[in-house]
Each structure stands twice: as C-alpha cells, then as structure tokens.
Amino acid sequence: MDTEKTYTIHVQGQRAGEVFLSLSGRIEVGNLHLFVSETDALIDQMAPGKLLVNLSNLEYLDSAGALGLLQLEDRARAKSIPFQFNNVSERATRIMSLVNRKALAMKPLAGEKKSNIIEQIGNGSLKIFNDFVSVITFLGDLLTALLYSFMHPRSVRWEDLLFYLKRAGVEGLPIVGLISFLLGLIIAFMSSLQLRQFGANIYVASLVGVAMVSELGPIMTAIIVAGRTGSAFAAEIGTMKVNEEVDALVAMGFDPTHFLAVPKVLAAMVAVPILTLYSDFFGIGGGLVVGVLGLDLTVYTYIQETMSVISVTSICKGLLKSAVFAVLISGIGCQRGFQVRGGAEAVGSATTSAVVAAIFLIIVTDSAFAILFTYI
C-alpha cells in the first residue's frame, strides 16, 4: 500500500487568530502517520486561537483517515483551541460516526501478560509440578484402562488397533531398516579402524551384535518411533481436543483414555518390539557388509561370531525394554495430546513436547534398565 502523500493541507487564511485549513485529496490508512505529524506541526507552529477545517475538497476518506481528522480535533481541543469542521459531506459524517471515541480511550480489559523473574520461576516450577501430576494421573488412567481392556477384550477397538499397528509398525519399517543398517555399518567401520591394528577383525562382529541387540536396536527404534508415532498421536488427539471431539466422547459417556489411548498404546506395544528385532537384524546386516567387504571375513564367520555373542536372554531383554519404551512413547504422546488447550499453536507445542519428553524418558528408563540388568 502506498505511503506517498495523497492529500494537501492548504492554509486558506488567518484572521484574528482564527486559522482556516482546507484539506483536499485522499486521507487514508497509508498516509495517516504523515497527516497526523503534519497537522501536529501546523498546530504547534501557528498556535491558532481557533481552527476551522474545510473538508469540501476532500476526494476520499477511509476510516483511518476519519480517525486522523478526529484525532486532529481532539488534539486541538486538548490545547484549548476551539475547533470546527466545515462543509462535511454526508459520507465523511457517516465514516466519522463509525469511529467510537470512547473505544480509543478505553484501557485494555486484560493487561499485557508481563511477569518478573520471581513470578517466572514460580510459574515455571508450578508448570513442572502440574505436568508431573498430570503425567502420573494419566499413567494411572492408562493402566486402569489397559487392565480393563485385558479383562474385557471385546471392549478394545481392534480395528483402530490394527490401523495404528500399520501406521506405527508397517509404515515405520523402511526408515527403521535404513537407519539401523547405516548405524551397523558405521559402528563396524569405526571399530574396524581400531581393531584391525590388533588383528582383531573378527571382534567387529561381536561388537556390532552386542551393541545392536542390547542397546542401539531398542534405543534407535524407540527414538524413531517417538519422532514418527509419538508426535502423530499427540497431534491427532490434540486436534481432536481443539475440534471438541474429545468433549463429545466424554459427553456420550465414553472414557477418552480407553477409546483413544488404549488402541494406540497396545498397537505400539506390539509394533515397537517387532521393529526392534527388525532393527537388530538390519544393524547386524550393516556390520556384515563392512566385515565382508572391508575386513575379508566370510559371511559364515561373521554370522557364527555374531551368534556366539548374542544370547536369547539378551534379545529378550532388548524386547522387554522396547515394550516399555513403547508404553512411554505412546502414553506420553496421548497425554500431551489430551493436554492441548486452544488452537493450532497448542497442537504444535504438544507435538514437540511429546517427542522431547519421550526421548528423555527413553534415555532415563534405559539407564534404569542398565543398572537393573547388571544386578539381576
């Protein structure tokens, strides 16, 4: 929009302290600031005893222009200068009547939300505490709903469960496979640089096998699922909150946790361990490629060495971990979704928060498992 001056202020004459201004052209939103500053300067410069403003030559006036004229009148009156508009057209009168002068002077009903550092720390602490309470409450809700589902399997929405199994599991296979393969490849390549110096090439297979099955397989899969599925759960339930779909469920007497969260959590509990096995397999495959192509090992030797270090127990431990990660990821995704209040921005923060919280919980829980498995 143009900001050029499209109006002129013509001082028609001065008589006994009275100043006659004639306005012509267009006074509109684009040049409001120019008009205000120019008229301000004129009043200061001429210090009139009375100000008469002729509007007969005005071609166009929009609501912002009308605001400018009324502001001019207010400023003149504030300086105790008698003021008068002359030759006001019907249209200009109608536009000026749209400007509610009381509204201009009205203070905002809600103050701007500013707080000092103490308040911010207090609010932050309260938020963390409330968040903790909310997570624990939801966890209780979820466990109750899961228990109910085990006791009443017909109450579970199996169609939804299959749908989420496909979304969280089948559709995640390519990315989990690719990342795990490259991870196995990198571990094998980096470790081979060191182990080759000692002639211990064969231990590359052991290293990759143990690392993938015990730690990297479950953790990498969980992190990928958190990014793909946890965020999707949060966004889906969050949008349902915004659209009042969750309220509708409650109003119809459904338990939203049982209706929305249980199929997702159960699907994740099935999908994530399977994805973990898949990840282990592809990780070892990545190591195998380095072993065969870079370390002159045969496929048979590599697989034999890998199988000698991997036990069924270690695989089961990995699967147990991944099942727990699945509950954490899907649970926190659903909980963050249910927390949404407001609009699109709240859905965005819930999604981010679901992923960050899930990854944090995955790492913390993995540390706990590491200690637990060492002493058991």
């Binding site: 939103v29 249209r91 536009i95 400007v99 509204a103 201009l104 905002p108 939300k113």
Partner: protein
C-alpha cells in the same frame, strides 16, 4: 462517493467448480455491483462457501472467469492476486483468527504488512477497528478467550483493517443467537453505510437476509447453480419457482414457530 451505483465490481462468468469428479457448480453467471450487500443463499451443501472461495481465488476454477475490479482472478499472476487481495477483505465463518496472537496483533497484522505506519499509529487504528466492532478493551485477549460472536466480529475487524473495497463474509449468523446475529447484521449495515464497502455475504439465515441484503442469488444443489436472483422480498412474494417458494416458506414457518 455514490452508495449504490450500478457499476459491476465483481463479474462471475460461466464459473464451473469441481471437487474431483463431483461438479459442485456449473456455468454460474452473476454480477455484484459497487456498494451493494449481495447475499449468496442456499441450503447446506449447495456450494455457497465453495463459490465464495472461488471468488477470492482460494480454489482453482474448472472453467470460467471471476473478474474483480477488472482483474480475472482465475488467470491473475501472483502480483495481480496480491493487488486484488489488498482490495478485498475476507471474514471467515469461525473468525479465522490466529490463535497464538492477541486480538490486537491479529488486527494489526495487515497494517504492519502493508503500511509504513508507526507502532503507535497502528495501535490507534487497531483500537479504532476493535471499537468499530464493539470489541473495545479486548486488545490483549486471545481468540480462545472469546465467544463465537466475538470471534466473528474480531475477524470482521481484521478483514476491515485496510478498508477494503469488497468484503466477503462467510456465514456471519451461523451459530449465533438471534440478538447477536441482529447486532452483527446492523454492524454490517453500518460499515456499508459508513465506508461504502461492497459486501458479498454467504448465509442461509432468512432473517439476516431480509435485514441486510440488497440482492441475492439462490443456489441449488441439484441445479448446481443459480435458481433465483434479485431482491429477497420480491422473490419471497413473487417467485414461482417451487424450490425458492419452499425455501422461503419453510424458513418463515420455522421462524414463526420459534417466535410463538
């Protein structure tokens, strides 16, 4: 300065709109004249909002033309579209306000983007616009803190931020109680009277139509186009089309029942 001229400001010619294989509108023709309140009317699913979205260039047309201020929206390049969009305002059914911004920030957005006004002047214009729609004092409120009617009015204030030549308003009365709806109608009329804005309004609320419309077109789902055009009062009393009669009479009966 004329209020109700006969100069067409929008010309729709042979507009055909499709969603996939479904034809929603077929060969629709009409004109909107400068300064009039033009209402697009019809039952649910007849393509009222679709027509409006085609008119403002949100949807691509299958064929036909939508000419606003001499520019064909269906063939306009980005620069022309931007130029036209500066000259039109759109108020959406649920307000279309940005949830993360306060009302003041929502209304200030077009002023910040398209003018060089100082923050103080923008603040003043925002206050004026909010005052115009009876939302003075709500500058720092977030949209989620407002009722449906207030959101619509705030959306109207934002759409009117630059005093557009044409204002499109989707379902101003939907979801509002009769009093709030009547207030919004009088607000629409006062804005037209004050600024002379041409209004294109999509609605199916009969009371609202009789309150505000200078001229209407009635769309029909089966006909995939316009089945009546003209002054709503005249059409109510004189139309011989059974669909038009049924629409007006059914609504009148409903209103009478509500009133009793």
């Amino acid at each position: 300065m004329e209020r109700l001229g006969r100069k067409p400001i929008i010309v729709v010619e042979n507009l055909t709109a499709r969603f996939g294989s479904d034809t929603i509108l077929q060969n629709v023709n009409f004109e909107v004249y400068e300064g009039e309140i033009f209402v697009i009317l019809g039952g649910s699913g007849c393509g009222k909002s679709t027509l409006m979205k085609h008119m403002i260039g949100l949807y691509e047309t299958e064929s036909g033309k939508v000419v606003i201020q001499g520019i064909d929206m269906t063939k306009a390049d980005e620069r022309q579209l931007k130029q036209i969009r500066l000259d039109i305002g759109v108020a959406f059914q649920s307000g279309g306000l940005f949830g993360s911004m306060t009302l003041a920030e929502n209304v200030a957005l077009p002023l910040q983007e398209y003018t060089d006004l100082s923050p103080e002047t923008i603040n003043l214009v925002v206050k004026m616009k909010l005052g115009m729609v009876n939302l003075a004092g709500y500058e720092n409120h977030l949209p989620e803190e407002l009722s449906g009617g207030m959101k619509k009015r705030a959306g109207l204030a934002r759409a009117m931020a630059l005093d557009p030549t044409v204002l499109f308003f989707d379902e101003p009365s939907a979801g509002l109680d009769p009093i709030t709806s009547a207030e919004l109608d009088s607000l629409i009329k006062s804005i037209r009277a004050g600024i002379g804005t041409t209004m294109v309004i999509v609605t199916h609320e009969l009371q609202s139509i009789f309150n505000i419309a200078d001229r209407i077109i009635m769309l029909d789902k089966e006909a995939k186009g316009i089945i009546a055009e003209g002054d709503p009062r005249w059409l109510k009393d004189n139309s011989t089309d059974p669909r038009v009669k049924a629409f007006f009479n059914r609504k009148v009966l409903e209103q009478e029942r509500q009133e009793t």
